[in-house]
Symmetry: C2
């Protein structure tokens, strides 16, 4: 198995990307990595490694560029060169921490959609309070959706759950502002009926945003705009809690500081559980080959996590499962 | 100043409502309360009080009923009797922990909108990490919005910030999936332009859901569906953090338990800060008289908080400010 990695994507590229690549190669002796970017710089950072292949790419796509234009004109960029390698069958999946827009558009253009997929979608895997994982799909790739898209998002996330997390019959919920069937805006009401009617789908109904992490649902589908709001609100709240906690400890005197010291391992574990970036990135589902978009601020650990995530998606045959599920639809 | 309280609204009515009413009367010696519901039960619970007026109402509207129908047919319910008192000028504002739908529809019908308000909206006041307050408007009263509604939501929340929290020129942001002006779905893009063009509005642009609590914005406007997703996702995440923390402490042995004991005051303070229900409820803005919808599960403390919140809205002349702002528009 070979995984392409965009060596110049993200705020901390290339050094953290290279560190993450080396960590992944160390972690899994069976994978190979095709790393794209300025060859001399990457070689200097990485040193010699018999499962690391560096492919020269002189350009870099920044987050400020218009994605479609950048992907079309910068054919020699680290991202496009990596995508071309996947498209040509030289790699089985891709990781990039670069511009989200460019990764989404580039991957859709170059790698292509699984037959029957209307719209690929971004799907982070989030930790639940019961120790499991819930897939939130879409989280921002499609901000203006038709109701039918959401049935596709559900199929894609179900294939992901089955292939990577080993669930047999994932429970699918629709993000909504109330649990009752008639709740929601006109769009949500229509989505509900389509999901309910979808063949072979374990649709459990509407899910309120407060229950996404409850562990009672395995896949939550949403319009990309709403999914993004849910995801970022969760992120912001987790950050706010930690920031308020820190302040409370700071103001709480010696007693609080001692307490915090004793609880350090617990806090660390909690932060690790909640930070979905630690576990990799958001899977970009619906393409013929797995793609993971790591956070722009990824450090080595997240890059390594994202590579292992793509590995799991390849091994779990997520794209193949999806193709089969859609065909049987 | 007299405040009407729906004595039979909420899961813990009437006993917790009565306790909350008594606490509010104790807390502020200048207010009077008009409490509606079964008079003999309320009297037995409350005892004698010279600033408490009980008005008999034999019916109760439950959360299972269709709101429009319930408000129209149950004219003798605790909610409708309380609303009628406000409409008749016998009270200056209202608190109910009952069915959200019934409160919204009943208040709009009976109390009426401020002239120029297209749609009243639900607006909780949330704590920011900087110790301030941010108003999120709308949070679920209007799930299918026109872009123009959001300009109204902004006007309403600005009047609320000015009147109750004393801000001079509240910063208004639009909930969106990215900070740049062109970001968002078609709806958000249109809202952005309208808000930008709105006379006398301190519009600071798009705000991502992760930044709602940042303290960098005083009013965040959103379609009721998205606002609801943001609010409930924040709520769910805060709950998840506490639940994971509890589990970590439980599993962390003696060291963690000792740490937790030392940090107890900090945890308590944090929970209090984050639980917006402790501070009252969600204001229902845009009506001629202030209405606060307390959480259905409200205990005495939240009811008391909601009453003091309505008091502040009356004293801060939130409805009058809004009427003036809209007239000048």
């Amino acid at each position: 198995m070979r995984i392409a990695v965009d060596g110049y994507g993200g705020d901390n590229a290339p050094s953290e990307v290279v560190k993450g690549v080396l960590a992944a190669l160390e972690e899994d002796k069976s994978i190979e990595i095709l790393l794209t970017g300025k060859a001399e710089e990457l070689s200097a950072l990485a040193g010699e490694h018999n499962r690391l292949f560096i492919r020269d790419a002189r350009e870099v796509i920044s987050c400020e560029e218009v994605p479609t234009l950048a992907v079309r004109t910068k054919k020699g960029s680290s991202l496009v060169v990596a995508l071309d390698a996947v498209a040509a069958g030289e790699a089985d999946g891709l990781v990039s921490a670069g511009s989200t827009g460019a990764v989404l558009i580039g991957a859709t253009l170059k790698i292509g959609r699984v037959k029957g997929v209307e719209r690929p979608a971004l799907a982070p895997a989030l930790p639940t309070v019961k120790g499991g994982t819930v897939i939130l799909c879409d989280c921002g790739a499609n901000v203006d959706c038709r109701p039918s898209y959401l049935v596709g998002f559900a199929r894609m996330a179900v294939a992901y759950q089955k292939g990577v997390f080993g669930l047999n019959d994932p429970r699918v919920g629709l993000l909504n502002n109330g649990a009752e069937e008639t709740k929601g805006n006109a769009f949500a009401v229509e989505c509900h009926q389509l999901l309910k009617a979808a063949e072979g789908m374990n649709f459990i109904g509407n899910v309120e945003a407060r229950d996404i992490l409850s562990g009672e649902v395995d896949v939550v589908v949403a319009d990309g705009f709403d999914g993004n709001v849910a995801l970022k609100s969760a992120e912001g709240t987790a950050n706010a809690v930690f920031s308020l906690l820190k302040e409370g400890i700071y103001k709480g005197g010696l007693r609080a500081k001692l307490g915090a010291l004793l609880l350090k391992p617990v806090f660390k574990g909690l932060k690790r559980t909640l930070d979905y970036n630690e576990h990799g990135g958001a899977a970009f589902l619906g393409l013929k080959k797995p793609v993971v978009k790591a956070h722009g601020s990824s450090k080595a650990k997240s890059i390594c996590g994202a590579i292992l995530q793509v590995r799991d998606m390849i091994a779990g045959e997520v794209s193949e499962r999806l193709a089969k599920d859609i065909q049987n639809d």
